[in-house]
């Protein structure tokens, strides 16, 4: 063996060892993906049979992870329905019960914390977001001199997030709800940059949900548990609203500030509000996003 060959061999061996050492964290990589998950087709391309299989598989995965057999369904939009949300700013007291009801209903991660609703505390007379307090924590609400404005996905008619998604992983359904296919999202977070309402959330880590808190009534495009690396956001509680119930935030609101319904039905509460109220606003109307979420006042 010549000196040169020895050096070459030594370099190759130490190089390969270093490579192996640097790749070693991958040994901990479990449950990131498997063949079925990797090969899973896009939501809109799944036949009913394939969807049934996928739902079964997801139920099995959730059971393995949380020990509870959930009921996962693919709720479809109803004909003749377009959902609209109205929020009465005069009534809201900033208690954040909606935030917590939402977290529980939609199986959001408790650690790191993911919440779809952000309640802003604003000084009287100003809608300037720069003056908003996101982390208010007084002993009791409401505080004099302030009003509260909860913000969540505005379900825009012209959603910037849908336009920018490079893989069609998010889209608007016929009932006006913008949904996300969690099994298709690549996690580029372009939608998060595009959203003017800070409505989207990213799973920076694997979500943590206490086993006994898991909501077993799940929908494919709604509250089934997500994985790390994908986006999520408010979907008007698809698993409830497409089955004729109110979203969790509407149900829990102690002051009746939240109203929800079908704008195509002239008899609905939201139709009445938008017909009769003198003032209602769409947040950042000048963006041209045309939200289906309206803020109104008792005047």
């Amino acid at each position: 063996m010549t000196r040169r060959n020895f050096l070459r061999g030594a370099a190759a061996v130490s190089g390969l060892t270093a490579l192996a050492a640097s790749l070693s964290p991958l040994l901990e990589l479990s449950d990131f993906t498997n063949v079925d998950q990797f090969m899973q087709k896009y939501y809109k391309e799944l036949t009913p049979d394939e969807m049934a299989k996928v739902l079964k598989r997801i139920e099995g995965e959730v059971q393995r992870q949380y020990g509870i057999r959930p009921h996962v369904r693919d709720y479809k939009p109803m004909d003749g329905v377009e959902f609209v949300y109205c929020l009465n700013l005069t009534r809201c007291i900033g208690c954040r019960k909606c935030v917590h009801a939402c977290v529980a209903e939609n199986n959001q991660s408790r650690n790191p914390e993911i919440q779809y609703i952000r309640v802003l505390k604003l000084p009287h007379g100003s809608l300037d977001m720069d003056k908003a307090d996101h982390n208010y924590a007084p002993a009791a609400v409401p505080e004099p001199g302030f009003f509260y404005m909860p913000v969540q996905c505005q379900q825009c008619k012209n959603p910037p997030c849908v336009k920018v998604c490079p893989v069609h992983a998010t889209w608007q359904e016929t009932d006006g709800i913008t949904v996300i296919d969690y099994s298709w999202c690549i996690g580029c977070r372009y939608c998060e940059a595009a959203c003017p309402y800070f409505a989207r959330r990213f799973n920076f880590a694997d979500p943590e949900i206490p086993k006994n808190r898991l909501n077993p009534n799940m929908s494919y495009l709604g509250n089934r548990p997500r994985k790390r690396g994908v986006m999520e956001k408010c979907h008007f509680c698809i698993q409830r609203t497409r089955a004729g119930r109110y979203p969790a935030c509407v149900e829990v609101c102690p002051v009746g500030a939240r109203k929800f319904g079908n704008i195509l039905d002239p008899e609905s509460e939201v139709s009445y509000i938008l017909r009769e109220k003198r003032i209602f606003i769409q947040l950042k109307e000048e963006m041209g996003t045309s939200p289906r979420f309206f803020y109104y006042f008792d005047v």
């Binding site: 190089g15 270093a18 490579l19 050492a21 640097s22 790749l23 070693s24 964290p25 991958l26 901990e28 990589l29 990131f32 993906t33 990797f38 896009y42 790191p112 802003l120 300037d128 977001m129 720069d130 003056k131 908003a132 996101h134 913000v151 910037p160 336009k163 920018v164 998604c165 490079p166 893989v167 069609h168 992983a169 298709w184 999202c185 690549i186 996690g187 580029c188 977070r189 372009y190 998060e192 940059a193 595009a194 959203c195 003017p196 309402y197 800070f198 989207r200 959330r201 990213f202 799973n203 920076f204 880590a205 694997d206 790390r228 690396g229 994908v230 950042k284 963006m287 041209g288 996003t289």
Partner: protein, 563 residues
């Protein structure tokens, strides 16, 4: 066909082999880069296991240094090709070789861009959702889908152009204009497009007033044309340093023993040359006989000097056997600009132009050399084929001249002025109008509600840019030493301005007014360093292959010989 494929694979094999050969400096450099790469890879593996939580990013600041580096490098890649313009449109020969180095830099930069985007993805395993026809490609609505097309297209274009030109050089064949001119022009337009599309990623977001400004596109281009050529100026000087074989002055013994007794050339000598240079066959017998007038044949030993830089005399040379190396001295160092084997020429440029020699030619081994007076060479060049081959080989020299570098300096100079001008425009618009949208700019430049995280960064960038601009404008930077200082300053300045200064403040405050500071984590920084090291590693390998090919030392003619 089979032979052509085999030739091509031999070429690739030899290029691959040479990447593993070098002196101790080369091994040390490559070893260092490999080590950093592996640290980066290790950090990325941790990110894969734990998720993007190991970065400093949050829902509030959802893009960080990954996308900042991506944005900067798209600019470098775009600018590298813009240097092509003076060469192909204005026919500036000084930059000719620089173009290949520029395009190789573009290839390395694009690979780094793709790596930075990939590490930023939450689900890199789902990359196939982005493949048109296989996944769901949201084209043309999403600017990101445009970016996928333009970046990958740009990569292919540049790989093709560099590969083609280098392979032609390797075979000592004249590149056919039809095979690369159209692509060069497409690449020029494409270079503008990659950067504009990347700017549009930001500009198109109505919810982010800091980005939603028409001037971002032009600013991107201006800063790219500053940082890109600046990086190339530095890279070229490294190439010059590394290819310098020895300090000037001791190249070649002054002995010209053989030169003292040249013998007159005969028709047999021309036949010997024609054996290596078939184009000579097309020269008429009359012209051949006429060219012998004054022509001589020299039998030289290793180290004999055939012509000397800065002297003037009007003869051109053809190598009949052996090998002659041509070296150019500049700033006290000498570098190989060409290596001529049998059938190849040297000294023809200055002979035909009647100018002083720009390099010194020394026999590398015992050689037989035909010396032709300029008039004889012109006589031979009356044949079209002979004319074409001689002309095309004139450009086959690796010349990185000070003049070429100073041409690049003027590009950097003008771009820097425009860049600073556009920045001032932006600052004026933000602060004078004083509307609510100024929050991000305030956060960046003077701090907002007690948050000052980016203030030191941007003022460092402005300071560096202003000093660099001053240096570039002053005649001082005609000295390469000061030019290098200016280049380093503007690369760092623009990296900060475009990264920390453009990507991050767009997110702060959030659309709902919250201020959340961003600081890259250690893991994130390691991943970035790893990708940069990988890019440099790639570029070093490209140069390791390209330089000997351009010098003529790695060619089809010397297959089977170790370098």
């Amino acid at each position: 066909m089979i032979q052509a494929t085999r030739n091509y694979f031999t070429f690739l094999w030899r290029c691959g082999r040479i990447a593993f050969v070098g002196d101790w400096r080369y091994y040390a450099w490559m070893g260092l880069l490999t080590a950093i790469c592996l640290f980066g890879l290790n950090a990325y593996c941790k990110q894969l296991v734990h998720g993007l939580i190991v970065t400093g990013m949050t829902d509030e600041v959802s893009w960080g240094v990954y996308i900042a580096n991506f944005t900067f490098l798209v600019g470098v890649a775009a600018a590298a090709v813009m240097m092509v313009i003076p060469v192909y449109i204005y026919g500036n020969e000084d930059l000719h070789d620089l173009v290949i180095f520029g395009e190789l830099l573009a290839v390395a930069a694009i690979v780094m861009c793709l790596a930075f985007v990939t590490v930023d993805l939450g689900r890199p395993d789902r990359f196939w959702h982005l493949i048109p026809g296989v996944g769901q490609f949201n084209f043309p609505a999403s600017m990101l889908s445009w970016d996928v097309i333009v970046l990958n297209g740009y990569l292919l274009l540049n790989v093709y152009i560099c590969g083609y030109l280098l392979y032609c050089r390797y075979q000592k064949k004249k590149p056919s204009k039809w095979f690369y001119y159209p692509f060069v022009f497409i690449a020029i337009v494409w270079a503008v497009s990659i950067h504009t599309v990347t700017a549009f990623l930001y500009v198109g977001l109505g919810g982010r007033p800091f980005w939603n400004s028409a001037i971002v596109g032009p600013r991107f281009l201006a800063s790219a044309f500053t940082a890109g050529p600046a990086l190339i100026i530095l890279a070229l000087q490294v190439v010059r340093r590394v290819t310098a074989s020895a300090p000037a002055g001791i190249t070649g013994r002054a002995t010209t023993s053989a030169l003292a007794a040249p013998r007159p050339a005969t028709l047999e000598d021309l036949d010997l040359l024609a054996h290596h240079l078939p184009e000579l066959e097309t020269v008429s017998m009359d012209d051949r006989l006429a060219s012998l007038h004054g022509a001589t044949v020299l039998d030289v030993a290793t180290g004999d000097v055939l012509l000397r830089q800065r002297t003037t005399e009007d003869s051109a040379f053809f190598v009949l056997s052996g090998r002659v190396v041509v070296k150019r001295e500049e700033n006290g160092r000498s570098r190989i600009t060409r290596s001529a084997g049998p059938g190849e020429q040297f000294g023809e440029v200055s002979a035909l132009a009647g100018t002083p020699r720009v390099a010194t030619a020394t026999a590398e081994e015992r050689s037989l050399v035909l010396r032709l007076p300029a008039a004889s060479l012109r006589r031979l060049m009356q044949s079209h084929k002979m004319n074409d081959i001689v002309q095309s080989r004139m450009s086959e020299r690796l010349m990185i001249t000070d003049h070429g570098l100073l041409m690049l300096r003027s590009i950097v100079q003008v771009s820097m002025l425009i860049n600073v001008f556009l920045l001032l425009n932006e600052v004026f618009k933000e602060f004078y109008s004083g509307n609510l949208h100024v929050a991000s700019a305030k956060y960046l430049f003077i701090g907002l509600h007690g948050h000052y995280a980016l203030v030191p960064w941007i003022w460092t960038a402005i300071g560096l840019n202003v000093i660099a601009m001053a240096l570039l404008v002053l005649p001082l930077s005609r000295s390469l030493k000061w030019l290098n200082v200016a280049c380093v300053l503007c690369i760092i300045g623009i990296w900060i301005e475009k990264g920390m200064g453009l990507v991050i403040p767009g997110f702060i405050p959030t659309p709902l007014g919250a201020i959340v500071d961003y600081r890259p984590s250690l893991n994130e920084t390691l991943v970035c360093l790893g990708i940069w090291a990988f890019g440099l590693l790639l570029y070093t390998i490209f140069l390791r292959m390209a330089v000997p090919i351009l010098q003529g030392r790695l060619s089809k003619a010397n297959e089977g010989q170790e370098l």
